[in-house]
């Protein structure tokens, strides 16, 4: 109820706090706002031939970088595609990149044209869950890089499968990418994004997100939260929703 915390002073953290202050009452230090304007991606972060810049792609890419490559970007807009994810990975200059997917061929095709990591592997999702008989991690070295987890579209019940939680737990830097069913893309509402967030952050109080927006307001103290809906809380758990975050990093 009254706690002091310290977090690293980085432009990414500053930007995330500025974005959160738009939905939650906070007094911000002017120095933090000026810090949030540093290190923004520009046109050079995009390749017009392979991944042309759009404002939404720029916002999502900025978000991925600011979240330290631990986030979820559902493809709720056509421009938030595999190309955008691979472009964000390219910006990290990471040596080891693993793509865990049930569509290895599809990702292989997209990957051409990107100068990605020296060590790039496209593996079936089950292979990313590499445990020995005692359910302990078999080879910890491989978790140093970035994992792109192609989240299966079949479920979206709001509760993640324990295997995905375990994979996300093994890889500190995981970008979850998913292609939600068309109904969510068309209506841009009702998508149970907290399922992916919960896979990334196991301690997330996921239960409250399954409430309606009114239900959430009933358990959260209203004067603190200026929220108009549940989707605005997605930023708290590193999930990019285009309907709420299309301006992320662009108007700090």
């Amino acid at each position: 109820m009254n706690q002091d915390f310290a977090i690293d002073l980085t432009p990414g953290n500053a930007r995330r706090l500025v974005a959160i202050s738009r939905i939650c009452s906070m007094n911000l230090d002017p120095l933090l706002i000026s810090k949030a304007k540093e290190g923004l991606l520009d046109d050079s972060a995009f390749d017009p031939l392979v991944c042309p810049r759009t404002s939404l792609r720029q916002a999502a890419t900025q978000f991925i970088v600011d979240c330290g490559y631990r986030c979820a970007v559902p493809m709720l807009d056509n421009t938030l595609d595999r190309r955008m994810i691979l472009n964000a990975v390219r910006l990290s200059d990471e040596e080891i990149v693993t793509i865990a997917t049930n569509d290895c061929r599809g990702w292989s095709r997209v990957i051409n044209g990107y100068k990605l990591a020296k060590s790039l592997k496209i593996v079936p999702i089950r292979s990313a869950f590499d445990r020995d008989a005692n359910n302990t991690v078999a080879n910890s070295d491989r978790y140093a890089g970035i994992l792109v987890l192609d989240y299966p579209v079949a479920g979206f019940s709001g509760v993640p499968d324990s295997m995905y939680c375990a994979i996300c737990n093994d890889f500190p830097r995981t970008i979850i990418h998913a292609s939600p069913p068309h109904i969510y893309v068309a209506t841009n509402a009702g998508f149970p994004w907290w399922e992916m967030s919960c896979a990334l952050f196991s301690t997330m109080p996921d239960l409250i997100f399954s409430y309606s927006a009114d239900g959430i307001r009933s358990v959260m103290h209203y004067p603190s939260w200026k929220l108009s809906g549940r989707d605005e809380l997605a930023i708290l758990y590193n999930t990019f929703l285009p309907s709420k975050m299309s301006n992320y990093g662009l108007n700090t």
């Binding site: 109820m1 009254n2 706690q3 002091d4 915390f5 310290a6 977090i7 690293d8 002073l9 953290n13 500053a14 995330r16 706090l17 959160i20 202050s21 939650c24 009452s25 906070m26 007094n27 911000l28 230090d29 120095l31 933090l32 810090k35 952050f201 301690t203 997330m204 109080p205 239960l207 409250i208 358990v219 959260m220 103290h221 004067p223 603190s224 939260w225 809380l233 708290l236 758990y237 590193n238």
Partner: protein, 235 residues
């Protein structure tokens, strides 16, 4: 007085645990109130104590000196009822009260004062001697936090409870109800919490240490974001 060994084997002397079982059985069965000591033992504390100590004894475990003392007080309280119900004779019960026999030797009770302390972050530590009523009240507080349930910390042997806007008053009531001791610094912390209600959180930049300092007031979800998502450390 001469003791007949055969008679003792045939009718072994009544033990404190046996009388406790008689009492527990009467409370368990759905008797009318006049068959249940006229409601003398119907309050939560007596019901819980009698059932838990009886279950403990039935598992073949010894009673503590304090438990035995309390059981004897309860027997004294319901002595006349037990006799009138025909559960026990007056000679037997008086003999037992004068020189109590137990199934197993008693072990010495330890004295653990009930106390509560602020243990850092947003947490309170409750220390007390095992008491099912207190534990169930503490567990009920979990529903009032969206991010952290109450848990037992085995090394320190304390119950850890997160304080939230919703749980602040119930926690204060619990402290009052069970008469937990509160030290001065915890008392001051409670004042700070009361002052923090409805206050806005603040974010400062500390350029010397290259850190962002976030003071989170009355906002559990923001505190969870700072500590579990942004990697913030409590200071």
């Amino acid at each position: 007085m001469r003791y007949d060994v055969a008679d003792i084997l045939k009718n072994p002397p009544m033990l404190v645990e046996d009388v406790l079982k008689l009492i527990a059985d009467r409370l368990n069965k759905h008797y009318a109130v006049e068959q249940r000591f006229y409601g003398v033992l119907d309050d939560d504390w007596h019901a819980s104590f009698i059932q838990s100590v009886n279950a403990h004894a039935e598992r073949g475990r010894p009673l503590s000196t304090e438990q035995s003392k309390i059981v004897l007080k309860i027997i004294t309280k319901v002595r006349t009822y037990l006799i009138s119900y025909g559960d026990i004779t007056s000679d037997t019960v008086d003999g037992l009260l004068a020189s109590p026999n137990h199934r197993q030797p008693l072990y010495q009770s330890t004295n653990i004062p009930k106390e509560v302390r602020h243990i850092g972050s947003n947490l309170l530590g409750f220390r007390f001697k095992y008491n099912e009523l207190i534990i169930s009240d503490i567990k009920a507080l979990s529903a009032l936090s969206i991010s952290q349930a109450a848990y037992f910390e085995g090394t320190m042997r304390i119950w850890v409870v997160a304080v939230t806007r919703a749980s602040l008053q119930p926690i204060k009531s619990l402290i009052k109800k069970y008469r937990f001791g509160v030290d001065c610094s915890t008392e001051n912390w409670f004042h700070l919490l009361q002052y923090s209600l409805d206050k806005e959180s603040s974010v400062f930049v500390d350029e010397e240490t290259d850190l962002i300092v976030v003071n989170v007031c009355d906002n559990e979800l923001l505190a969870h974001w700072v500590s579990h998502v942004a990697g913030g450390e409590p200071i």
